[in-house]
Amino acid sequence: MKVRVLFFAQARESAGSASIELVLPESSRVADALAALARDYPALESLWPHLAVALNGRLVPRGADLTEGAELALLPPVSGG
């Protein structure tokens, strides 16, 4: 299965990319995607404890199921306003 991964702010700068496509085994969960990203993007390491994760625009726990074509966003601590 394929998911689209979006990186924002520090995550975007550390990953060197705003958006990538990630290919995962069928029936993967959010945690599986994060494990793959941690392997592919070691520069994100210090950020992981601070990241929230959104699936198709909603915050999800790491155990949430992924679906084909889903949009997974890595969200550093927010600082709008």
């Binding site: 924002f8 702010a9 601070h50 915050l59 969200l75 550093p76 601590p77 927010v78 600082s79 306003g81």
Partner: protein, 139 residues
């Protein structure tokens, strides 16, 4: 009906839209770029957002504000991209029958924006370097 936009926030239009004959109070908050932070000179701020989720978050704040306070309307506009010193990055406008609720609601909405909207701010310094502001983890 929250807005994310690049370029100056149309404050006058927002105030005109908020003002209603059944309301006696309008409060406006503007968050503006400061030219100093923790002793460093800030040349400008850069804002980015996860746009669809940010719009949804801001519209939830607008609705929650009207649902939680005795106010008639709440509108939020956030600017993205680069914001020079003394220009506004965010505007919150609340209209209410009476002023106490208008103040309470405007302040609450602004706090919610800071803690729940997927928007990020980076300070850009004189030497060309920059730093993301330590913010609130989304929950």
């Amino acid at each position: 009906m929250a807005e994310l936009l690049e370029g100056p926030i149309p404050v006058e239009r927002l105030l005109a839209e908020a003002t209603r004959p059944d309301c006696g109070a309008v409060t406006l908050f503007l968050g503006t770029t400061r030219d100093r932070h923790e002793g460093r000179k800030v040349v400008r701020l850069h804002y980015e957002a996860y746009r669809p989720m940010a719009i949804a978050a801001l519209e939830k704040i607008e609705a929650d504000t009207v649902g939680s306070f005795a106010v008639a309307s709440c509108r939020i506009v956030h600017r993205l991209g680069e914001v020079p010193p003394a220009e506004a990055s965010v505007a919150v406008v609340v209209a209410a029958a009476h002023r106490a609720a208008a103040f309470d609601a405007c302040r609450w909405a602004m706090n919610e924006i800071k803690s729940t909207a997927p928007i990020w701010k980076k300070e850009l310094y004189e030497d060309g370097s920059g730093g993301w502001i330590e913010g609130a983890k989304l929950e």
